[in-house]
Structure formats: structure tokens, C-alpha cells
Amino acid sequence: MKRRDALRSLALITGGLVLVPSCDFSKEDILTAYQNLQITPSLQQLLKDIAGTIIPVGNIKSAADIEVQDFILVMVNDCIDADGQKSFMQGLQGFEDFSKKSGGSAFAKLDQSGKEAVVKAALAIELPENTKPEDPQKATKEFIGMAKRFTVQGFMMSEYIQTQVKPYSLIPGDYQGAVLISDLKPERING
């Protein structure tokens, strides 16, 4: 556990770029921070692009700007069961192909609206009842579901959001049991 924690800390400092030397130079190195997954730097970059598509930049930062992909990978590596990890990896590895088929181009080369269309298409996949477990459509759908869920969680529960955008208070204030919604005038945050 100690070694793993140390690697994890190092991974957090360096953005996950802890590399294990590989003997096969034709292949990309695998990021060792996520020992249950086979994440290469290019897959990590693809995931970052997807997170940045789900929550793009505007007045405030995007999910990609705050490196939400690293949170997604920690969660999938640590908190998702082996079957889920398999779908995630299969879906992530097949996402460039999906992008080419669905959006006509590698994901990174699309503009924001093209990227959104691809992510929406993945989220909208409907699986027929007789879908085989190894069907790439199934993996794509499961992968993008996890990617979206953890992007939302990682973004909203990030230090950036909870300190600079919507400061989080550990003390919620005295309980009021009958507050008229019409009296609430929350200050609008322009994303």
C-alpha cells in the first residue's frame, strides 16, 4: 500500500506521468499510477478531451483545464469492479474508432460542436436486447456513461469549484423547514 500511495502522490504531482520502462519500443508506455488499467499518455489525453467536451471552457474553467481525467482514472481504477474497468478500457480504446465512424474524424481534430455530437451519439447508443457482451457498442455506451458521471462529480467536487466558484461551507447553517422557493434569489453563476 505504501508504494502504491507513493506512486499515487507522484502521479498527482506529475499529472499521472509516471512511466514504467517497457521493453517493446513499438508500444506506448503505460501509466503506472493506475495499476488496474492500461492507460497510455494518448488515452489519457483522449479522456481529457472528452471531459473538456462534456464540461467545456467558458467564463470559468473546463473539466479539462482542471485535469478531471486524472480523477476519472483514479475512480475507475479504485472504485469500479473488474467488469466495469474492462468496459471502460474497451470503450476508451475504441473511442477513436467510434469518433471516426460517428463524427468522421479523430476526436481531437473535431471542433467543439463536432466533439459534442460524438459524445452525444455515444450517450444515445441503444443496445438491442440480444447484444453480445463483447459488442463494442456496449463498451462505448458504458464507457461514456462512466466518463460523464465522473466528469460531473470530479468537476463539481473539485478544489477549484469548491473554493473559487461556489465556496463550500462545512457549516450549512440552522435548519429552516419551510422556506418559500419564491423567496430564494440565488446568484446566477455564468458558466
Binding site: L123, K166, G177, R188
Partner: protein, 568 residues
């Protein structure tokens, strides 16, 4: 221990020994030390100092690597404790991991434990409801277990004593089934909870009530609690991390530091009690044998009076393991009933629904408690084909949420400005009385040992037909009340959880009037060894429906005063 010299024995001799530093043990220690009794408190786990040893107490959500969730690895290694709702990233360090203290499940039993100074008082749900004579007279009226040797009038002043010091928030409800106590101001019920109260009144008159649950949180009398270094509850709802304000009662924030301040308490942590020493010539208990948790070496400590407050099942384990020529089957076990008549609270059933009224309202802020149904079933007389009844929690809640259907800027705007309101969500969970039976028991396993060389406890506890009937009735009655209140989308559940997950295991060393059918007398002394007191959950003759901690605290305080009078 033949090589012990006189000085060493003197160093190891106290006026009283309290085994266990949790909720009930710390109360015994507080009362004894406050009255000048030199007391040794023995805790099997590590020390947890108030505030200093609450590592997660002020952490913000983003500071938890998995935002509160536990990893697959931890859950796989700990299938038992992982079923506990509070075993999460922010409080996992206060729970016993499955491998740390194995036990034998003859039938499934989720034994949830906290081994540290303060025990489970750091982790409890802080609900404190008094018993009444409807509860104490239950076994005698309904013909099960044995008659309690005490009644409400015996314990009422001690409830007051404990409530005042611990700090209990609640309303004076004037109900015979749930006597009022020394209350600090209650937290508010919300608009739908009050509406439901009104509907109950309309349909059931004075027969059924839903009130604010009383909880051990400070909401007033602040100067008084400042003496303990405790302050107003801030409604953080992060109690399981340990409270930096001391806003709720824990041994760590209240009774242990209070006892320490007297100068009369010696705290020996990391010491697993092996057994209580019985001196055949003197005809009494003279001390305890402990195993150092790290060196595994055996040590002895001596005292005139011994309080066993190791938490219900471990108290059974210690007494069962305390054998001598006089007591070959466990200390004080002349009746042969030690470890038997174990019971618990039936938490299997629950109900949820929605309410489409009062939609112009929401709630704000936090609240460490919710609504509570005192028992109404079979209260004044037998009404059903099962014995006893159930209490129940109740709550209504509503808050804004974000529409998360879109992606891109639309999703981002929605997330940052959550403005959706659904209907109110309402729900209840059952807290059923179970009937203690001889066939529900704990015993020492003949072969398996724990990491300290102690015999493992084997647990054989199960539901029975009475419990099944009660679950059915709870779900029927709650459905009826929800329907009468106009709640919709009603969903009932029976999660089939194993006993133990209620964390209200009780009995095995029950109180009673007759030494032939009970272990403890009305003063919590072992009938056969009067200088040994048991005042935790093990002493419970029956379980009734109330969250039991308040009763253990009152028992401990009462018994400590009895001991001082009789062994002072």
C-alpha cells in the same frame, strides 16, 4: 506472575477498574472519578483524543481522494463492515476491519465494532429516547424472557442526570410511551413533517404520534457545556468524523476528558482484556488479566470493583472466558444462561414515497435528527398476532438539483445553477423489538482463536416468525398512514439484512430478580459476584424499540453510585 513484587502490585492496584472506554464505560468512569475513586479504564484499542485525533473532521469534499467512497479493494477485504452505512472514506479509520477481529458466524451476523477510546460513541446515530414502563413491564405482561428487576421510577432520575450532562435536544411531547426528559431546544420539523403530524392526529387521534426524535446534541445552555469544552451543534452532519465543536455527545468529547480532569483516572489503552480474576478464598473478583495489544504479553491489574462495559458481545466474551474452579462455565454463570437470550433490533423494513403538496416550499440548513414514531403497536394491550411492536424513523426532504441530461455549456450552466425541484421525498425505517430466546446465543468457539490468542466468539442469532409478522405489519401500517396523508409512489422494502447491522445487539448477561434465570440483579451486579457490574448492552433483559444508548449511560451512572455506596 509469581515474580511480581509488592510495589508492582501496588502500582497495578486501583479502587475500580472499568473495562471499555465507550459510551457506557466512560459514564461509569466519569461518575467514579468525579467522586474520588481511583479508577483504571482499560481500552483494547488506541487512544483517540478529542479533536486532535479526528483527522478528517475539517476536510472539504474535494480533499477525499474518492470523494467519500471506499475502494473496491477495501470493500472486498471487509465485506462485513462495508455493509455499515457509516463505513466510508471519512470515518473508516474508526471501524474495526473484518480481519482485525475475526468471529464465527453460525448464522449470518454483521458485528460492527469500534475499537478505540470512545468506542462507537464517535460513530453512533445519537438518538436518545427514554424507556417507559410500557417497555420495562413488557416481558412480565407478555410472558417472554424474565421480568426486569427495575422500573421506570428506578432509572428516571439517572436518565435526567445523563441527559443534562450529555446534552439532549428535543421537545416535551407529553407521551406516556416516550417520557419527556431534560431537553435543550428541539430542532424544527419541516413543513411536510408537520403536515404529516396533523394527518396522523386527524386519522388516529391520540393513538399514533410522529414527533421530533430526541438527539444528543447541544442546542442551548451553552455556558454549562463550555465547562466540558463543548459548544453548540453546528448541524454539520459530519458527526462520524468526530466533532471539533463537541456538538454531540461522545465519550471522547465529554466523559473521558471530564474523568481525566479529576486526576483519578488512569487510562490503559491497547490492552485486550483476557479475563476477570476470581479469588476463590475471598469469594470475589480481584482484578483483570489483559493482553498487551502490541507485545501480546499478559499483565494483571487489581481493584475492589470491576465494571464490564466492553460493548454487549465482547462483555459476553470476557465473562465466558473468565473461568475458575468456582465458575467453570464463565464468571457468574451459575444459571448456565451466560451468552444466551441475545437479541437486537429489527431494522429490515423501510418505506419511501413522494408528496406532491407544499411544492412552494423547500428546506435550508442542516439538522442532525429527524422525525420519530414512538411505538404504538400492542402498546397498552395485545392487539396483533405477534408480540410487541416497533418504533420508526420518519423524514421528509426536498432540495434543488441540477438537470444533468445535456452536455456542453448547457450541462455546465445547469450544474452551477441547480434550479430543479421534484416532489418531496418521504420515508421511514423500522426499529422492531425482537424477543430474546435461549436459542439466540453467543459462545466461545472451541478451536478458533483471534489474533490475541483469545477464543473467537461464535454467534448464533436469527430472526423468527414474530419478526416476520412484525415486518408485515409495519409495512401495512406505514402504507396505510402514507396513503391517508396523500403520499404517492409508495414503495416498501425488506432488505433482508442480517442481524447485527442494526448495531443494537443486546443481552447475554441479562438482569433479573432470580439468580436461576438471570445473571445480574437490579443493581447490575452479577448475582454470584457482586463486585462485578455489567451496565452495557449485555445487561438488557429485553430490547424494546428505543435506541438503547441512553439507557446504557443511565445504567452505568446508576450502578457506579451503587458501587460507591456499597464498596466505598
Amino acid at each position: 506472575m509469581a515474580n511480581l513484587n509488592i510495589d508492582a502490585v501496588k502500582e497495578r492496584t486501583f479502587q475500580a477498574i472499568v473495562i471499555g472506554s465507550g459510551l457506557s464505560g466512560s459514564w461509569a468512569a466519569k461518575e467514579l472519578t468525579e467522586h474520588g475513586v481511583k479508577t483504571l479504564v482499560i481500552e483494547r484499542g488506541r487512544d483517540v483524543k478529542h479533536i486532535k485525533d479526528y483527522p478528517t473532521t475539517s476536510m472539504l469534499p474535494y480533499e477525499f481522494e474518492h470523494r467519500g467512497q471506499l475502494t473496491q479493494e477495501i470493500q472486498k477485504e471487509n465485506p462485513i463492515v462495508s455493509r455499515c452505512y457509516a463505513f466510508r472514506e471519512d470515518a473508516a479509520h474508526f471501524f474495526v476491519k473484518d480481519k482485525e477481529h475475526p468471529y464465527v458466524q453460525e448464522k449470518p451476523f454483521d458485528w460492527i465494532r469500534g475499537y478505540q477510546v470512545g468506542g462507537k460513541s464517535l460513530l453512533w446515530a445519537r438518538q436518545v429516547q427514554r424507556w417507559s414502563d410500557f417497555d420495562f413491564e413488557g416481558p412480565a405482561r407478555d410472558g417472554f424472557a424474565v421480568d426486569w428487576p427495575i422500573r421506570y421510577k428506578d432509572i428516571a432520575p439517572w436518565y435526567s442526570h445523563v441527559e443534562k450532562f450529555a446534552g439532549v435536544s428535543g421537545n416535551k411531547d407529553g407521551l406516556a410511551s416516550l417520557p419527556d426528559g431534560e431537553f435543550l431546544p428541539g430542532f424544527p420539523l419541516n413543513v411536510v413533517e408537520e403536515y404529516f403530524q396533523g394527518k396522523l392526529k386527524e386519522h388516529y387521534g391520540d393513538e399514533r404520534h410522529m414527533i421530533l426524535a430526541r438527539c444528543a446534541h447541544i442546542t442551548g445552555n451553552f455556558d454549562y457545556y463550555a465547562q466540558q469544552g463543548r459548544a453548540k451543534c453546528q448541524s454539520r452532519n459530519l458527526c462520524q468524523r468526530g466533532c471539533p465543536f463537541g456538538g454531540y455527545f461522545s465519550a471522547n468529547s465529554s466523559t473521558i476528558p471530564w474523568a481525566e480532569k479529576t486526576g483519578n483516572m488512569t487510562l490503559r489503552t491497547d490492552a485486550v482484556v483476557h479475563s476477570i480474576i476470581y479469588d476463590e478464598e475471598k469469594g470475589k473478583a480481584t482484578g483483570v488479566m489483559v493482553i498487551d495489544a502490541h507485545t501480546k504479553e499478559m499483565e494483571e491489574y487489581f481493584a475492589d470493583v470491576i465494571f464490564v462495559n466492553a460493548a454487549a458481545l465482547n462483555t459476553n466474551l470476557i465473562l465466558l472466558n473468565s473461568t475458575s474452579t468456582r465458575f467453570p462455565n464463565g464468571l457468574g454463570n451459575d444459571s448456565g444462561l451466560l451468552g444466551k437470550y441475545v437479541a437486537f433490533h429489527n431494522y429490515r423494513a423501510g418505506i419511501s414515497a413522494q408528496y406532491e403538496g407544499h411544492l412552494e416550499y423547500t428546506t435550508q440548513g442542516g439538522r442532525p435528527t429527524s422525525g420519530y414514531f414512538p411505538r404504538f403497536r400492542n402498546l397498552k394491550k395485545q392487539e396483533t398476532d405477534f408480540l410487541r411492536g416497533y418504533a420508526a424513523g420518519f423524514g421528509a426532504n426536498r432540495g434543488s438539483y441540477a438537470d444533468q441530461n445535456a452536455i456542453g455549456m448547457e450541462l455546465k450552466e445547469n450544474l452551477l445553477n441547480p434550479d430543479q425541484y421534484g416532489p418531496w421525498n418521504v420515508g421511514s425505517h423500522m426499529m422492531g423489538e425482537t424477543i430474546p430466546k435461549e436459542s439466540n446465543y453467543v459462545a466461545l468457539d472451541a478451536n478458533a482463536k483471534d489474533p490475541f490468542g483469545m477464543p473467537q466468539l461464535k454467534i448464533n442469532v436469527d430472526y423468527d416468525d414474530n419478526d416476520e409478522k412484525m415486518i408485515k405489519d409495519y409495512l401495512e401500517q406505514m402504507t396505510e398512514m402514507f396513503e391517508k396523508a396523500g403520499f404517492t409512489n409508495i414503495k416498501t422494502r425488506d432488505d433482508k439484512r442480517a442481524p447485527g447491522l442494526d448495531i443494537h445487539e443486546m443481552g447475554g448477561v441479562r438482569m433479573g430478580k432470580d439468580p436461576k434465570t438471570s445473571l445480574l440483579n437490579g443493581n447490575h451486579q452479577l448475582h454470584a459476584v457482586p463486585n462485578v457490574y455489567v451496565t452495557d448492552g449485555a445487561s438488557m433483559t429485553s430490547t424494546s424499540t428505543q435506541n438503547p444508548s441512553l439507557t446504557y449511560m443511565a445504567f452505568a451512572a446508576r450502578a457506579a453510585h451503587h458501587a460507591m455506596k456499597n464498596f466505598g
